[in-house]
Subunit: 275 residues, 2 copies
Amino acid sequence: MEPQPTAVPAPLQVRIADDIRMKIERGDLAPGDSLPTLHELGQQWSCSQNPVRSAIALLKQQGLITGGRGKAPIVRVPPRYVVRYSERHQTEKDLVLAAEAERGKIGTSETELQVSVNELEVRSDYAVVPASDDVAEALRVEIGTPVLRRIWEHYNPAEGRREAWSVSHIPKSLIEANPALFDPNNEPWPGGTQHQLYTVGIEIIQIVDEVTATMPTTATAQLWDLESGVPMLHCRRISIDTLDRFVEISDAEYPADRTKLSFTTPLTRWENTEN
Amino acid sequence: MEPQPTAVPAPLQVRIADDIRMKIERGDLAPGDSLPTLHELGQQWSCSQNPVRSAIALLKQQGLITGGRGKAPIVRVPPRYVVRYSERHQTEKDLVLAAEAERGKIGTSETELQVSVNELEVRSDYAVVPASDDVAEALRVEIGTPVLRRIWEHYNPAEGRREAWSVSHIPKSLIEANPALFDPNNEPWPGGTQHQLYTVGIEIIQIVDEVTATMPTTATAQLWDLESGVPMLHCRRISIDTLDRFVEISDAEYPADRTKLSFTTPLTRWENTEN
DNA sequence: GAGTGGTCTAGACCACTGT
DNA sequence: CAGTGGTCTAGACCACTCC
């Protein structure tokens, strides 16, 4: 009976990856540092380059390493996060009734960025389409009901990549009183969606955001210029009005390495406490 | 001059992966279906098994495929999402002043699950520790300030995996009036953290959640029994009281394939509209 | 041009799955 | 047991980076 008869040693590629990760976590390798070449690592571990490649691939998949293509792999420098605030909903709402000049400052409709909006190419697409099953379920309407679908893409020509993307769906019947809402030339609308809805007498009183994350497909990754190991955040926003109607659903996507979504939940005060 | 002199064909492994993904997206391969064996795919593409392996690895990394180890790869069946609601904050707060019997129904403090809490092993760890730089910055206190650190781990013995994990930090000075708060034996505390804080005269009026996502490391993935290609959601919750003090920060982690975080933002009504 | 990582072949061994 | 995917070797060719 050997000491640990069933204990199978971890695969070589995993041991190599773990070793490198520990060096990163201990600060032995700082962000921006170059790793040894595959050749050197192969010699250190007395193995061929294949397990070393696999180890590096593993770490890239986990977002710890960047680089390659003729250059040595680099310990990844985490990019700064852009925080996207849900408080903006209230800010936007407050401004709907304010002066026109004030409203303009808020900018476009669904998304804000640290980068000036002027530097971004906003491509929008407006169309009245029949509700898909997914959209219909979320909006609580019949499948095929006409809905206004608005798509925004914020493209950064300087970086050559997409910065934000969202689709919004609004039942056509709720807003057809104001034909201007269907005209993409009115984009960006001062004061955003809340002001647009205000023109047809709709007041949003509750917004529900549902957040999850997935790994991007190959096509998605290159569309966003994502490094490997970076998930996408998905946020479905449901806007509910004073009549408890599901007025709008908006699906937005953000690269998780440079985005933090922030949600503020105000709580009502207890009646009997006055400090 | 050739038609497209610079056009380099995509690597074979990418073409194979794209082909399989398109079959999945078209419904040609349904969730749960088995893929052809590596051998068969190698014959179909007239290549060795290595590029086929790489293609499969790519799709696993993107969360589209599961399986292996003696079995054919399987098109992944997306698990049902557990929705975690932020509205619970208000519910919990409302119950603090309600009858004791009602309070008990809410269960434990930070996390709720679809699974009955009784089926889960909750391991908690209470300790007063000096604030790390990260925690100190978030709580707006000096580094090294004594804070109560509470860690919860909800472990599912049936599934053999972790279901939720969170750390909470509260400055010791804010709550030392009630020594019971430092005793892990009082866990689960009826009514949750809000009730605990109520006993020392603290009323939370605002909660800020910051959400992002990353890919898990190898160790993290096996701790949570995660399939490959599944990101982790990170949620930092900051609780602010009536005196604008940063009372608690709580960092929670959830597997993104089975979790949706839901945040409800109520908006204040416009004064001049009465419908 | 030398060196690097990325891709691919061909073939070996192992652990795991099914029957 | 046969078949499968996972790991690894050894060596080839290519595209890219940097000097």
